[in-house]
């Protein structure tokens, strides 16, 4: 589908089709485009894969390569938001050396290519007044990067939920009372939230006047120190890898013996080697054992899980391994809805998946969907069929399984009808069963399915 994905910038707009990204540059944005195209710093970032490539077309248009799968800040764990913030600051600092700057500083300027952040909004780059000592995007950087990271560090507030409803982040005034009473009087909370929140009452029209330093050296001195201070705060607010109910699941897996895990791994590895998927969606990926396996088999992987800590762990692993995996915080039973202006600005997760993947992995997830989320089995297979154009690797977990029993919490009688035959009957409505394997000494089995034409 065609969608105007960016229309707020008076300098230009972006139209995305299924394989092309065309940016129309308005007269107001032309100087910024030229500043970006002529900048050696911007070229260095492009060569490093951290800034989107730009190909000038005829007239007022330029083309960018398509980032394969678009994700949004409300699908990122704190670690990915932190990486996007660091990229924004790095770019801002390098541009400053050339008399350029960023006119805005928001996570919306960044997408992820696999696990690596890419700055995509080239019209954000602008030529600075050499005597201007103020970075006007500073407050936006604080609202959309630093304050959400601070709030997450202090209270565990889920950042992805915040951005779903606060496009432009949180102001100091909206944040101050959420911080612990004593902690808010110490840095970095004090300078980032508490004092600016108090100062919100003091600002008048005089504040919104441009200010000029006495010489360009003074302006650059002030700005570079400001960027250093922001970086210092950002480093202090780096998310700490923590544990959650599911992020330790694969190492302390209570449902699988070593032998059973090896059988499951072997089946998935053989299947991936055989079908060679080009794009794989791993649903309920946890810390991504099978995502890494699919990436190693040459597939470009999007991995989703509702557990932010598990997603962050996979992002760190994929970054360290250089694996082509984009991990996202998405609850498959309640996926990211369409959002933004008229709910047409940002596509929902199911829409972005439509026709994109040729393989889906639903491993150790169907019992969660059936029991915890109370999704009927036919709905689960209908959703699975909408996720993949060809292959599905799915795990059956029956009512006799200890994890199924644990999730049922005394409601086992509701699932007496459920067994392997019922599972296979539902699977055959939309898929052909290529092969399956019983996990020894368990009520589990794993299937390779091919979608019916």
């Amino acid at each position: 589908m065609n969608r105007t994905d960016s229309f707020r910038d008076p300098g230009g707009s972006v139209r995305i089709t299924h394989d092309r990204v065309i940016r129309t540059v308005f007269p107001e944005g032309e100087p910024n485009l030229n500043a970006c195209l002529d900048s050696p710093a911007a070229r260095r970032f492009v060569e490093a894969g951290a800034l989107i490539e730009t190909l000038p077309l005829a007239g007022d248009q330029v083309e960018h390569p398509r980032i394969p799968f678009i994700s949004y800040p409300w699908e990122w764990p704190p670690a990915m938001l932190h990486a996007a913030a660091m990229l924004t600051l790095d770019l801002g600092a390098e541009l400053l050396e050339e008399g350029l700057g960023l006119k805005d500083a928001t996570p919306s300027n960044v997408l992820f290519r696999g696990p690596r952040p890419v700055f995509i909004d080239i019209l954000s780059i602008e030529k600075r007044d050499p005597l201007d000592p103020i970075w006007l995007a500073d407050a936006q950087f604080a609202r959309t990067f630093l304050i959400p990271l601070l709030l997450n560090r202090r209270t565990g507030y889920p950042i992805h939920e915040l951005f779903m409803f606060h496009r432009d982040g949180l102001t100091p005034g909206e944040t101050v009372n959420r911080l612990p009473r004593l902690r808010r009087w110490f840095p970095p909370d004090l300078g980032l939230v508490t004092l600016p929140a108090r100062a919100e009452h003091l600002s008048g029209d005089n504040l919104y006047q441009s200010r000029r330093a006495r010489d360009a050296g003074e302006a650059r001195f002030i700005l570079s120190h400001r960027l250093q201070a922001l970086r210092k705060n950002l480093v202090r607010l780096a998310p700490v890898a923590g544990a959650s109910a599911w992020s330790n699941y694969e190492t302390a897996c209570p449902s699988y013996s070593q032998e059973q895990q090896n059988v499951k791994r072997g089946f998935v590895e053989d299947a991936l080697r055989e079908i060679k998927p080009s794009r794989t969606l791993d649903v309920g990926s946890n810390t991504g054992e099978f995502s890494l396996m699919a990436a190693a088999a040459g597939s470009s992987v999007v991995a989703i899980d509702s557990d932010s800590e598990a997603v962050a762990a996979l992002w760190r692993a994929a970054t360290a391994a250089g694996a082509d995996i984009l991990p996202l915080v998405v609850d498959f039973a309640r996926p990211t809805p369409a959002a933004g202006w008229r709910c047409q600005e940002h596509a929902g997760f199911p829409e972005r998946c439509d026709g994109f993947f040729d393989c889906a992995l639903l491993l150790a997830i169907t019992h969660h969907l059936m029991v915890t989320d109370q999704i009927p089995l036919d709905q689960i297979f209908a959703a699975a069929a909408s996720l993949t154009t060809r292959w599905l690797i799915v795990e059956y977990i029956g009512p006799a399984d200890p994890m199924f029993h644990r999730l049922a919490r005394g409601r086992d009688a509701m699932y007496t009808w459920y067994n392997r035959d019922v599972f296979e009957d539902h699977a055959r409505r939309t898929f052909d069963i290529v092969r399956h394997l019983d996990i020894p000494s368990s009520d589990r089995a794993i299937y390779l399915l091919r979608r019916k034409p």
Binding site: P133, L136, D138, L207, R214, I222
Partner: protein, 68 residues
């Protein structure tokens, strides 16, 4: 029924921050694309004032050292 008289909330004046705002040289209205904020902008302007002062003091002493 007890009537509570309407009372507008007036924050306590922070004289230091007010003084800093007035001390900064003002020019034409700024051209911002992103919302520049209020408290955060004021905080940045105050920081810029102090940094500017440090820069000028350093420049002064650098000039004095050069003359010697």
């Amino acid at each position: 029924m007890i009537e509570i008289p309407a009372r507008s909330y007036r924050p306590p004046p922070n004289l230091v921050l007010r003084a800093l705002t007035l001390m900064v040289f003002l020019e034409a209205p700024l051209k911002a694309y992103a919302d520049p904020g209020s408290g955060l902008l004021l905080w940045q302007v105050a920081g810029a004032f102090f940094l500017g002062a440090i820069y000028q003091v350093r420049k002064f002493f650098a000039r004095v050292r050069k003359k010697k």
